[in-house]
Assembly symmetry: C2
Homo-oligomer: 247 residues x 2
Amino acid sequence: MTVQNLLKALKDGGGDPDLATVDDVTGHNTSRLPLASQVAITIRDMIVQDLIKPGERIRERQLSVELNVSRTPLREALKILEGEKLIALLPNRGAIVADPAPDEIRELLQVLGALEALGGRLAAENARDADIAEIKALHYEMLAAYSREDRLAYFKLNQQIHSSIMNASRNSSLIETHSHFNARLYRVRYRSNQRNAKWHEAIDQHEGLIKALEARDGELLAARLSSHLGATWAKVSKEDYAEGSAG
Amino acid sequence: MTVQNLLKALKDGGGDPDLATVDDVTGHNTSRLPLASQVAITIRDMIVQDLIKPGERIRERQLSVELNVSRTPLREALKILEGEKLIALLPNRGAIVADPAPDEIRELLQVLGALEALGGRLAAENARDADIAEIKALHYEMLAAYSREDRLAYFKLNQQIHSSIMNASRNSSLIETHSHFNARLYRVRYRSNQRNAKWHEAIDQHEGLIKALEARDGELLAARLSSHLGATWAKVSKEDYAEGSAG
DNA sequence: ATATTTTATTTTGTATGCTGTATTTACTTT
DNA sequence: AAAGTAAATACAGCATACAAAATAAAATAT
Protein backbone atom coordinates (compact mmCIF):
# COMPACT_ATOMS: atom_id res chain seq x y z
CA MET A 1 0.00 0.00 0.00
CA THR A 2 1.58 3.24 -1.16
CA VAL A 3 0.97 6.72 0.13
CA GLN A 4 -1.05 7.82 -2.87
CA ASN A 5 -3.38 4.90 -2.30
CA LEU A 6 -3.66 5.71 1.35
CA LEU A 7 -4.56 9.26 0.47
CA LYS A 8 -7.18 8.05 -1.96
CA ALA A 9 -8.60 5.62 0.57
CA LEU A 10 -8.83 8.45 3.07
CA LYS A 11 -10.59 10.65 0.57
CA ASP A 12 -13.00 7.88 -0.41
CA GLY A 13 -13.88 6.47 2.96
CA GLY A 14 -13.04 9.08 5.51
CA GLY A 15 -13.73 12.74 5.01
CA ASP A 16 -15.96 14.74 2.71
CA PRO A 17 -19.23 12.96 3.38
CA ASP A 18 -21.06 15.57 1.34
CA LEU A 19 -19.18 14.56 -1.76
CA ALA A 20 -20.74 11.12 -1.60
CA THR A 21 -24.08 10.97 -3.35
CA VAL A 22 -26.27 8.42 -1.63
CA ASP A 23 -29.23 6.87 -3.38
CA ASP A 24 -32.60 7.14 -1.64
CA VAL A 25 -33.80 3.68 -2.55
CA THR A 26 -30.84 1.37 -2.12
CA GLY A 27 -28.75 3.54 0.18
CA HIS A 28 -25.71 2.76 -1.94
CA ASN A 29 -22.94 5.24 -2.38
CA THR A 30 -23.34 6.32 -5.94
CA SER A 31 -20.51 8.80 -6.34
CA ARG A 32 -17.82 6.53 -7.73
CA LEU A 33 -20.13 3.92 -9.15
CA PRO A 34 -19.80 2.86 -12.79
CA LEU A 35 -22.22 4.51 -15.16
CA ALA A 36 -24.11 1.27 -15.67
CA SER A 37 -24.99 1.10 -11.98
CA GLN A 38 -25.97 4.75 -11.85
CA VAL A 39 -28.15 4.34 -14.91
CA ALA A 40 -29.76 1.27 -13.34
CA ILE A 41 -30.62 3.32 -10.27
CA THR A 42 -32.08 6.07 -12.42
CA ILE A 43 -34.24 3.75 -14.48
CA ARG A 44 -35.29 1.84 -11.37
CA ASP A 45 -36.52 5.09 -9.87
CA MET A 46 -38.31 5.96 -13.10
CA ILE A 47 -40.11 2.64 -12.99
CA VAL A 48 -40.96 2.63 -9.30
CA GLN A 49 -42.15 6.23 -9.44
CA ASP A 50 -44.27 5.29 -12.42
CA LEU A 51 -42.56 7.75 -14.76
CA ILE A 52 -42.45 4.89 -17.25
CA LYS A 53 -45.61 2.84 -17.28
CA PRO A 54 -45.79 -0.95 -17.06
CA GLY A 55 -45.77 -2.55 -20.48
CA GLU A 56 -44.12 0.49 -22.00
CA ARG A 57 -41.21 -0.15 -24.29
CA ILE A 58 -37.75 1.12 -23.48
CA ARG A 59 -35.82 2.25 -26.56
CA GLU A 60 -32.12 2.05 -26.03
CA ARG A 61 -30.98 4.81 -28.35
CA GLN A 62 -33.69 7.20 -27.22
CA LEU A 63 -33.11 6.65 -23.51
CA SER A 64 -29.35 6.76 -23.94
CA VAL A 65 -29.49 10.27 -25.41
CA GLU A 66 -31.97 11.34 -22.73
CA LEU A 67 -29.65 10.14 -19.99
CA ASN A 68 -26.59 11.31 -21.87
CA VAL A 69 -24.78 8.00 -21.88
CA SER A 70 -23.86 5.58 -24.60
CA ARG A 71 -25.83 2.43 -25.22
CA THR A 72 -23.19 0.18 -23.68
CA PRO A 73 -23.67 1.11 -19.99
CA LEU A 74 -27.38 1.51 -20.61
CA ARG A 75 -27.63 -2.05 -21.85
CA GLU A 76 -25.69 -3.25 -18.83
CA ALA A 77 -28.15 -1.39 -16.63
CA LEU A 78 -31.02 -3.12 -18.39
CA LYS A 79 -29.46 -6.49 -17.62
CA ILE A 80 -29.36 -5.55 -13.95
CA LEU A 81 -32.99 -4.48 -13.96
CA GLU A 82 -33.99 -7.63 -15.80
CA GLY A 83 -32.45 -9.60 -12.93
CA GLU A 84 -34.60 -7.63 -10.52
CA LYS A 85 -37.59 -8.41 -12.74
CA LEU A 86 -38.44 -4.75 -13.05
CA ILE A 87 -38.22 -5.08 -16.81
CA ALA A 88 -38.53 -7.93 -19.28
CA LEU A 89 -35.87 -8.30 -21.96
CA LEU A 90 -37.20 -9.87 -25.14
CA PRO A 91 -34.43 -11.11 -27.44
CA ASN A 92 -34.00 -8.81 -30.42
CA ARG A 93 -37.11 -6.98 -29.36
CA GLY A 94 -35.90 -4.76 -26.58
CA ALA A 95 -37.06 -4.10 -23.06
CA ILE A 96 -40.49 -3.45 -21.66
CA VAL A 97 -41.37 -2.38 -18.14
CA ALA A 98 -42.65 -5.34 -16.16
CA ASP A 99 -46.41 -5.55 -15.90
CA PRO A 100 -47.27 -8.36 -13.50
CA ALA A 101 -50.60 -10.07 -14.05
CA PRO A 102 -52.92 -10.51 -11.07
CA ASP A 103 -51.79 -14.11 -10.72
CA GLU A 104 -48.20 -13.03 -10.54
CA ILE A 105 -49.03 -10.34 -8.01
CA ARG A 106 -50.66 -12.99 -5.86
CA GLU A 107 -47.51 -15.11 -6.14
CA LEU A 108 -45.28 -12.19 -5.29
CA LEU A 109 -47.36 -11.30 -2.24
CA GLN A 110 -47.10 -14.88 -1.05
CA VAL A 111 -43.33 -14.79 -1.26
CA LEU A 112 -43.20 -11.35 0.28
CA GLY A 113 -45.33 -12.68 3.10
CA ALA A 114 -42.93 -15.52 3.76
CA LEU A 115 -39.98 -13.11 3.70
CA GLU A 116 -41.67 -10.71 6.10
CA ALA A 117 -42.64 -13.56 8.38
CA LEU A 118 -39.02 -14.62 8.60
CA GLY A 119 -38.02 -11.00 9.04
CA GLY A 120 -40.48 -10.65 11.89
CA ARG A 121 -39.17 -13.71 13.68
CA LEU A 122 -35.59 -12.52 13.34
CA ALA A 123 -36.46 -8.95 14.23
CA ALA A 124 -38.13 -10.05 17.44
CA GLU A 125 -34.88 -11.81 18.22
CA ASN A 126 -32.28 -9.34 16.99
CA ALA A 127 -33.86 -5.90 17.15
CA ARG A 128 -32.25 -3.46 19.52
CA ASP A 129 -34.44 -1.43 21.79
CA ALA A 130 -33.56 1.65 19.77
CA ASP A 131 -34.81 -0.07 16.59
CA ILE A 132 -38.12 -0.82 18.21
CA ALA A 133 -38.38 2.71 19.54
CA GLU A 134 -37.76 4.09 16.05
CA ILE A 135 -40.36 1.79 14.53
CA LYS A 136 -42.82 2.90 17.15
CA ALA A 137 -42.03 6.51 16.31
CA LEU A 138 -42.69 5.82 12.63
CA HIS A 139 -45.94 4.21 13.62
CA TYR A 140 -47.06 7.34 15.43
CA GLU A 141 -46.01 9.45 12.49
CA MET A 142 -48.13 7.20 10.35
CA LEU A 143 -51.08 7.73 12.67
CA ALA A 144 -50.52 11.45 12.29
CA ALA A 145 -50.57 11.13 8.51
CA TYR A 146 -53.72 9.05 8.81
CA SER A 147 -55.33 11.68 10.95
CA ARG A 148 -54.49 14.34 8.37
CA GLU A 149 -55.73 12.00 5.64
CA ASP A 150 -52.40 12.46 3.93
CA ARG A 151 -52.37 9.26 1.94
CA LEU A 152 -48.97 9.72 0.39
CA ALA A 153 -47.24 10.27 3.72
CA TYR A 154 -49.23 7.40 5.19
CA PHE A 155 -48.13 5.09 2.41
CA LYS A 156 -44.48 6.03 2.64
CA LEU A 157 -44.39 5.65 6.40
CA ASN A 158 -46.15 2.32 6.09
CA GLN A 159 -43.44 1.17 3.69
CA GLN A 160 -40.77 2.55 5.98
CA ILE A 161 -42.12 0.63 8.94
CA HIS A 162 -42.03 -2.64 7.07
CA SER A 163 -38.53 -1.94 5.80
CA SER A 164 -37.43 -1.03 9.29
CA ILE A 165 -38.71 -4.30 10.68
CA MET A 166 -36.79 -6.13 7.97
CA ASN A 167 -33.68 -4.12 8.77
CA ALA A 168 -34.04 -5.09 12.40
CA SER A 169 -33.77 -8.74 11.36
CA ARG A 170 -30.07 -8.12 10.75
CA ASN A 171 -30.13 -10.56 7.83
CA SER A 172 -28.72 -8.65 4.88
CA SER A 173 -29.68 -11.25 2.29
CA LEU A 174 -33.23 -11.17 3.54
CA ILE A 175 -33.28 -7.39 3.58
CA GLU A 176 -32.10 -7.18 0.00
CA THR A 177 -34.44 -9.84 -1.33
CA HIS A 178 -37.32 -8.23 0.50
CA SER A 179 -36.56 -4.87 -1.04
CA HIS A 180 -36.46 -6.41 -4.51
CA PHE A 181 -39.86 -8.00 -4.11
CA ASN A 182 -41.15 -4.83 -2.59
CA ALA A 183 -39.97 -2.81 -5.57
CA ARG A 184 -41.77 -5.16 -7.91
CA LEU A 185 -44.96 -4.61 -5.94
CA TYR A 186 -44.44 -0.96 -5.10
CA ARG A 187 -46.68 0.43 -7.83
CA VAL A 188 -49.47 -2.05 -7.12
CA ARG A 189 -49.51 -1.21 -3.45
CA TYR A 190 -49.25 2.48 -4.12
CA ARG A 191 -52.31 2.41 -6.34
CA SER A 192 -54.14 0.27 -3.85
CA ASN A 193 -53.39 2.76 -1.12
CA GLN A 194 -54.59 5.66 -3.22
CA ARG A 195 -57.91 4.08 -4.09
CA ASN A 196 -58.93 1.91 -1.23
CA ALA A 197 -61.73 3.46 0.78
CA LYS A 198 -61.09 1.32 3.85
CA TRP A 199 -57.50 2.24 4.36
CA HIS A 200 -58.07 2.46 8.10
CA GLU A 201 -58.16 -1.32 8.38
CA ALA A 202 -54.40 -1.40 8.13
CA ILE A 203 -54.12 0.83 11.18
CA ASP A 204 -55.40 -1.83 13.54
CA GLN A 205 -53.14 -4.41 11.97
CA HIS A 206 -50.14 -2.17 12.38
CA GLU A 207 -51.03 -1.62 15.99
CA GLY A 208 -50.83 -5.37 16.39
CA LEU A 209 -47.47 -5.52 14.65
CA ILE A 210 -45.92 -3.01 17.00
CA LYS A 211 -47.33 -4.78 20.04
CA ALA A 212 -45.90 -8.11 18.92
CA LEU A 213 -42.54 -6.56 18.22
CA GLU A 214 -42.46 -4.80 21.59
CA ALA A 215 -43.28 -8.10 23.27
CA ARG A 216 -40.56 -9.66 21.10
CA ASP A 217 -43.02 -12.37 20.19
CA GLY A 218 -41.51 -13.59 16.92
CA GLU A 219 -44.20 -16.09 16.04
CA LEU A 220 -46.98 -13.62 16.62
CA LEU A 221 -45.22 -10.92 14.63
CA ALA A 222 -44.57 -13.35 11.78
CA ALA A 223 -48.19 -14.43 11.70
CA ARG A 224 -49.45 -10.88 11.72
CA LEU A 225 -47.10 -9.77 8.98
CA SER A 226 -48.28 -12.65 6.82
CA SER A 227 -51.96 -11.97 7.34
CA HIS A 228 -51.31 -8.28 6.81
CA LEU A 229 -50.10 -9.07 3.31
CA GLY A 230 -52.98 -11.45 2.82
CA ALA A 231 -55.24 -8.47 3.41
CA THR A 232 -53.27 -6.50 0.86
CA TRP A 233 -53.96 -9.19 -1.71
CA ALA A 234 -57.63 -9.17 -0.85
CA LYS A 235 -57.77 -5.44 -1.55
CA VAL A 236 -55.68 -5.54 -4.70
CA SER A 237 -57.56 -8.43 -6.26
CA LYS A 238 -60.91 -6.86 -5.47
CA GLU A 239 -59.86 -3.65 -7.21
CA ASP A 240 -58.51 -5.56 -10.14
CA TYR A 241 -61.63 -7.58 -10.66
CA ALA A 242 -63.76 -4.53 -10.12
CA GLU A 243 -62.32 -2.67 -13.07
CA GLY A 244 -60.83 -5.36 -15.21
CA SER A 245 -57.11 -5.50 -14.43
CA ALA A 246 -55.81 -2.91 -16.90
CA GLY A 247 -54.30 0.36 -15.70
CA MET B 1 -48.73 -9.88 -38.98
CA THR B 2 -47.13 -10.90 -42.29
CA VAL B 3 -46.60 -14.40 -43.63
CA GLN B 4 -42.86 -14.41 -43.10
CA ASN B 5 -43.39 -13.57 -39.47
CA LEU B 6 -46.00 -16.27 -39.14
CA LEU B 7 -43.60 -18.76 -40.66
CA LYS B 8 -40.88 -17.66 -38.29
CA ALA B 9 -43.20 -17.90 -35.30
CA LEU B 10 -44.14 -21.39 -36.39
CA LYS B 11 -40.52 -22.38 -36.73
CA ASP B 12 -39.63 -20.90 -33.34
CA GLY B 13 -42.51 -22.16 -31.29
CA GLY B 14 -43.91 -25.12 -33.12
CA GLY B 15 -41.79 -27.70 -34.88
CA ASP B 16 -38.16 -28.75 -34.70
CA PRO B 17 -37.91 -29.36 -30.98
CA ASP B 18 -34.44 -30.86 -31.44
CA LEU B 19 -33.13 -27.56 -32.72
CA ALA B 20 -33.87 -25.97 -29.38
CA THR B 21 -31.00 -26.30 -26.95
CA VAL B 22 -32.33 -26.38 -23.42
CA ASP B 23 -30.18 -25.49 -20.47
CA ASP B 24 -29.92 -28.06 -17.69
CA VAL B 25 -29.99 -25.58 -14.84
CA THR B 26 -32.58 -23.00 -15.74
CA GLY B 27 -34.54 -25.00 -18.30
CA HIS B 28 -34.51 -21.98 -20.60
CA ASN B 29 -34.46 -22.33 -24.33
CA THR B 30 -30.99 -21.24 -25.24
CA SER B 31 -30.99 -21.61 -29.01
CA ARG B 32 -31.93 -18.09 -30.05
CA LEU B 33 -30.76 -16.40 -26.89
CA PRO B 34 -28.44 -13.37 -27.13
CA LEU B 35 -24.80 -14.10 -26.52
CA ALA B 36 -24.86 -12.31 -23.19
CA SER B 37 -27.44 -14.73 -21.82
CA GLN B 38 -25.63 -17.75 -23.16
CA VAL B 39 -22.38 -16.53 -21.66
CA ALA B 40 -24.14 -15.97 -18.34
CA ILE B 41 -25.35 -19.56 -18.39
CA THR B 42 -21.87 -20.81 -19.19
CA ILE B 43 -20.20 -18.85 -16.42
CA ARG B 44 -22.96 -19.77 -13.98
CA ASP B 45 -22.28 -23.42 -14.68
CA MET B 46 -18.56 -22.88 -14.28
CA ILE B 47 -19.16 -21.33 -10.87
CA VAL B 48 -21.71 -23.83 -9.62
CA GLN B 49 -19.61 -26.76 -10.82
CA ASP B 50 -16.65 -25.21 -9.05
CA LEU B 51 -14.58 -24.87 -12.23
CA ILE B 52 -13.81 -21.36 -11.03
CA LYS B 53 -13.16 -21.18 -7.31
CA PRO B 54 -14.75 -18.72 -4.89
CA GLY B 55 -12.67 -15.59 -4.53
CA GLU B 56 -11.02 -16.20 -7.86
CA ARG B 57 -10.78 -13.22 -10.15
CA ILE B 58 -12.51 -13.16 -13.52
CA ARG B 59 -10.51 -11.35 -16.19
CA GLU B 60 -12.69 -9.96 -18.91
CA ARG B 61 -10.25 -10.11 -21.81
CA GLN B 62 -8.94 -13.52 -20.88
CA LEU B 63 -12.37 -15.08 -20.45
CA SER B 64 -13.70 -13.37 -23.56
CA VAL B 65 -11.05 -15.02 -25.74
CA GLU B 66 -11.60 -18.35 -23.99
CA LEU B 67 -15.33 -18.20 -24.70
CA ASN B 68 -14.76 -16.67 -28.11
CA VAL B 69 -16.92 -13.62 -27.60
CA SER B 70 -16.17 -9.95 -27.31
CA ARG B 71 -16.05 -8.18 -24.00
CA THR B 72 -19.39 -6.45 -24.53
CA PRO B 73 -21.72 -9.45 -24.11
CA LEU B 74 -19.37 -10.88 -21.51
CA ARG B 75 -19.69 -7.75 -19.41
CA GLU B 76 -23.46 -7.91 -19.76
CA ALA B 77 -23.33 -11.50 -18.56
CA LEU B 78 -21.31 -10.42 -15.54
CA LYS B 79 -23.99 -7.88 -14.65
CA ILE B 80 -26.57 -10.66 -14.72
CA LEU B 81 -24.48 -12.88 -12.48
CA GLU B 82 -23.83 -10.00 -10.12
CA GLY B 83 -27.59 -9.68 -9.72
CA GLU B 84 -27.73 -13.35 -8.82
CA LYS B 85 -24.94 -12.72 -6.32
CA LEU B 86 -22.83 -15.44 -7.87
CA ILE B 87 -20.06 -12.91 -8.44
CA ALA B 88 -19.09 -9.60 -6.91
CA LEU B 89 -18.30 -6.69 -9.23
CA LEU B 90 -15.79 -4.29 -7.76
CA PRO B 91 -15.72 -0.92 -9.56
CA ASN B 92 -12.64 -0.60 -11.74
CA ARG B 93 -11.35 -3.79 -10.18
CA GLY B 94 -13.26 -6.46 -12.04
CA ALA B 95 -15.23 -9.46 -10.94
CA ILE B 96 -14.53 -12.14 -8.35
CA VAL B 97 -16.48 -15.31 -7.74
CA ALA B 98 -18.68 -14.91 -4.68
CA ASP B 99 -17.23 -16.42 -1.53
CA PRO B 100 -19.88 -16.20 1.17
CA ALA B 101 -18.59 -16.00 4.74
CA PRO B 102 -20.07 -18.38 7.32
CA ASP B 103 -22.32 -15.61 8.61
CA GLU B 104 -23.66 -15.02 5.14
CA ILE B 105 -24.23 -18.74 4.62
CA ARG B 106 -26.24 -18.79 7.81
CA GLU B 107 -28.31 -15.88 6.54
CA LEU B 108 -28.84 -17.54 3.18
CA LEU B 109 -29.96 -20.78 4.80
CA GLN B 110 -32.44 -18.87 6.90
CA VAL B 111 -33.98 -17.30 3.83
CA LEU B 112 -33.89 -20.58 1.94
CA GLY B 113 -35.65 -22.16 4.89
CA ALA B 114 -38.43 -19.59 4.74
CA LEU B 115 -38.78 -20.07 1.00
CA GLU B 116 -38.93 -23.83 1.31
CA ALA B 117 -41.43 -23.57 4.12
CA LEU B 118 -43.71 -21.51 1.92
CA GLY B 119 -43.06 -23.91 -0.94
CA GLY B 120 -44.04 -26.82 1.26
CA ARG B 121 -47.26 -25.19 2.33
CA LEU B 122 -48.20 -24.38 -1.25
CA ALA B 123 -47.07 -27.77 -2.52
CA ALA B 124 -49.28 -29.57 -0.03
CA GLU B 125 -52.10 -27.48 -1.43
CA ASN B 126 -51.35 -27.47 -5.14
CA ALA B 127 -49.36 -30.59 -5.90
CA ARG B 128 -51.00 -33.06 -8.23
CA ASP B 129 -50.97 -36.69 -7.31
CA ALA B 130 -48.54 -37.30 -10.15
CA ASP B 131 -46.14 -34.74 -8.66
CA ILE B 132 -46.20 -36.50 -5.33
CA ALA B 133 -45.70 -39.86 -6.98
CA GLU B 134 -42.69 -38.53 -8.86
CA ILE B 135 -41.20 -37.05 -5.70
CA LYS B 136 -41.69 -40.37 -3.97
CA ALA B 137 -39.95 -42.09 -6.86
CA LEU B 138 -37.02 -39.70 -6.54
CA HIS B 139 -36.93 -40.46 -2.85
CA TYR B 140 -36.60 -44.16 -3.51
CA GLU B 141 -33.91 -43.50 -6.07
CA MET B 142 -32.14 -41.50 -3.42
CA LEU B 143 -32.40 -44.41 -1.02
CA ALA B 144 -30.86 -46.59 -3.71
CA ALA B 145 -27.98 -44.17 -4.11
CA TYR B 146 -27.58 -44.13 -0.34
CA SER B 147 -27.48 -47.89 -0.25
CA ARG B 148 -24.76 -47.92 -2.91
CA GLU B 149 -22.96 -45.16 -1.01
CA ASP B 150 -22.99 -43.13 -4.20
CA ARG B 151 -22.69 -39.71 -2.65
CA LEU B 152 -22.87 -37.74 -5.88
CA ALA B 153 -26.08 -39.42 -7.03
CA TYR B 154 -27.47 -39.06 -3.52
CA PHE B 155 -26.70 -35.38 -3.48
CA LYS B 156 -28.19 -34.69 -6.89
CA LEU B 157 -31.37 -36.61 -6.10
CA ASN B 158 -31.63 -34.79 -2.81
CA GLN B 159 -31.46 -31.49 -4.66
CA GLN B 160 -33.95 -32.72 -7.23
CA ILE B 161 -36.44 -33.66 -4.52
CA HIS B 162 -36.31 -30.22 -2.98
CA SER B 163 -36.64 -28.57 -6.38
CA SER B 164 -39.55 -30.83 -7.23
CA ILE B 165 -41.36 -29.86 -4.05
CA MET B 166 -40.83 -26.22 -4.94
CA ASN B 167 -42.10 -26.84 -8.47
CA ALA B 168 -45.20 -28.46 -7.01
CA SER B 169 -45.95 -25.17 -5.23
CA ARG B 170 -46.93 -23.75 -8.64
CA ASN B 171 -45.59 -20.34 -7.63
CA SER B 172 -43.13 -19.38 -10.36
CA SER B 173 -41.67 -16.41 -8.49
CA LEU B 174 -41.00 -18.63 -5.52
CA ILE B 175 -39.49 -21.32 -7.70
CA GLU B 176 -37.11 -18.90 -9.35
CA THR B 177 -36.04 -17.18 -6.16
CA HIS B 178 -35.50 -20.53 -4.51
CA SER B 179 -33.29 -21.68 -7.35
CA HIS B 180 -31.20 -18.52 -7.09
CA PHE B 181 -30.60 -19.00 -3.40
CA ASN B 182 -29.93 -22.64 -3.99
CA ALA B 183 -27.31 -21.83 -6.60
CA ARG B 184 -25.55 -19.52 -4.16
CA LEU B 185 -25.45 -22.35 -1.64
CA TYR B 186 -24.87 -25.18 -4.07
CA ARG B 187 -21.15 -25.47 -3.55
CA VAL B 188 -21.40 -25.27 0.23
CA ARG B 189 -23.95 -28.04 0.37
CA TYR B 190 -22.07 -30.12 -2.13
CA ARG B 191 -18.93 -29.99 -0.04
CA SER B 192 -20.89 -30.70 3.09
CA ASN B 193 -22.40 -33.75 1.47
CA GLN B 194 -19.03 -35.05 0.35
CA ARG B 195 -17.45 -34.77 3.77
CA ASN B 196 -20.12 -35.31 6.32
CA ALA B 197 -19.79 -38.69 7.98
CA LYS B 198 -23.36 -38.76 9.24
CA TRP B 199 -25.04 -38.26 5.94
CA HIS B 200 -27.67 -40.84 6.87
CA GLU B 201 -29.36 -38.38 9.21
CA ALA B 202 -30.93 -36.67 6.25
CA ILE B 203 -32.59 -39.91 5.20
CA ASP B 204 -34.93 -39.96 8.18
CA GLN B 205 -35.75 -36.31 7.65
CA HIS B 206 -36.57 -36.92 4.02
CA GLU B 207 -38.80 -39.79 4.99
CA GLY B 208 -40.71 -37.32 7.11
CA LEU B 209 -40.95 -34.83 4.26
CA ILE B 210 -42.52 -37.36 1.94
CA LYS B 211 -44.98 -38.48 4.61
CA ALA B 212 -46.09 -34.91 5.23
CA LEU B 213 -46.48 -34.24 1.54
CA GLU B 214 -48.48 -37.42 0.99
CA ALA B 215 -50.74 -36.43 3.86
CA ARG B 216 -50.89 -32.97 2.28
CA ASP B 217 -50.12 -31.51 5.67
CA GLY B 218 -48.73 -28.14 4.66
CA GLU B 219 -47.80 -26.92 8.11
CA LEU B 220 -45.97 -30.12 8.95
CA LEU B 221 -44.13 -30.13 5.64
CA ALA B 222 -43.16 -26.49 6.09
CA ALA B 223 -41.87 -27.13 9.59
CA ARG B 224 -39.87 -30.16 8.49
CA LEU B 225 -38.35 -28.36 5.52
CA SER B 226 -37.24 -25.55 7.81
CA SER B 227 -35.69 -27.80 10.40
CA HIS B 228 -34.08 -29.82 7.63
CA LEU B 229 -32.17 -26.72 6.56
CA GLY B 230 -31.42 -25.92 10.15
CA ALA B 231 -29.66 -29.27 10.30
CA THR B 232 -27.74 -28.34 7.16
CA TRP B 233 -26.47 -25.23 8.86
CA ALA B 234 -25.46 -27.24 11.91
CA LYS B 235 -23.34 -29.49 9.70
CA VAL B 236 -21.85 -26.72 7.60
CA SER B 237 -20.91 -24.54 10.53
CA LYS B 238 -19.36 -27.47 12.37
CA GLU B 239 -17.17 -28.24 9.39
CA ASP B 240 -16.26 -24.63 8.98
CA TYR B 241 -15.20 -24.19 12.55
CA ALA B 242 -13.40 -27.52 12.49
CA GLU B 243 -11.02 -26.49 9.74
CA GLY B 244 -11.09 -22.73 9.84
CA SER B 245 -13.45 -21.59 7.09
CA ALA B 246 -11.01 -21.39 4.19
CA GLY B 247 -11.40 -23.68 1.18
C1' DA C 1 -59.70 -2.97 -52.23
C1' DT C 2 -57.25 -6.67 -49.82
C1' DA C 3 -53.48 -9.44 -49.29
C1' DT C 4 -48.77 -10.63 -50.16
C1' DT C 5 -44.18 -9.67 -51.33
C1' DT C 6 -40.41 -6.50 -51.57
C1' DT C 7 -37.89 -2.59 -49.96
C1' DA C 8 -36.61 0.79 -46.56
C1' DT C 9 -36.10 2.15 -41.86
C1' DT C 10 -35.56 1.48 -37.22
C1' DT C 11 -33.69 -1.05 -33.42
C1' DT C 12 -31.14 -4.49 -31.09
C1' DG C 13 -26.74 -7.30 -30.89
C1' DT C 14 -21.75 -7.52 -31.13
C1' DA C 15 -16.94 -6.12 -31.92
C1' DT C 16 -13.27 -2.89 -31.55
C1' DG C 17 -10.67 1.06 -30.06
C1' DC C 18 -9.74 4.67 -26.89
C1' DT C 19 -9.60 6.67 -22.11
C1' DG C 20 -9.02 6.66 -17.26
C1' DT C 21 -8.06 4.03 -13.13
C1' DA C 22 -5.68 0.53 -10.42
C1' DT C 23 -1.71 -2.31 -9.82
C1' DT C 24 2.81 -3.68 -10.49
C1' DT C 25 7.69 -2.75 -11.36
C1' DA C 26 11.72 -0.06 -11.34
C1' DC C 27 13.96 3.59 -9.33
C1' DT C 28 15.30 7.00 -5.87
C1' DT C 29 15.89 8.57 -1.22
C1' DT C 30 16.69 8.11 3.59
C1' DA D 1 17.84 -2.37 3.42
C1' DA D 2 13.33 -0.22 4.00
C1' DA D 3 10.27 3.09 2.69
C1' DG D 4 8.67 6.19 -0.55
C1' DT D 5 8.13 7.93 -5.32
C1' DA D 6 7.59 7.68 -10.21
C1' DA D 7 7.19 5.32 -14.45
C1' DA D 8 5.16 1.33 -16.86
C1' DT D 9 1.77 -2.01 -17.52
C1' DA D 10 -2.55 -4.21 -17.18
C1' DC D 11 -7.27 -3.73 -16.76
C1' DA D 12 -11.99 -2.09 -16.50
C1' DG D 13 -15.25 1.60 -18.30
C1' DC D 14 -17.21 3.77 -22.04
C1' DA D 15 -18.26 5.31 -26.79
C1' DT D 16 -18.43 4.51 -31.50
C1' DA D 17 -19.01 1.62 -35.61
C1' DC D 18 -20.71 -2.12 -37.92
C1' DA D 19 -23.86 -6.38 -38.52
C1' DA D 20 -28.17 -8.72 -37.99
C1' DA D 21 -32.74 -8.77 -36.90
C1' DA D 22 -37.32 -6.85 -36.50
C1' DT D 23 -40.67 -3.52 -37.69
C1' DA D 24 -42.77 -0.26 -40.79
C1' DA D 25 -43.67 1.34 -45.37
C1' DA D 26 -44.15 0.94 -50.21
C1' DA D 27 -44.97 -1.70 -54.22
C1' DT D 28 -46.92 -5.46 -56.59
C1' DA D 29 -50.12 -8.99 -57.35
C1' DT D 30 -54.58 -11.10 -56.71
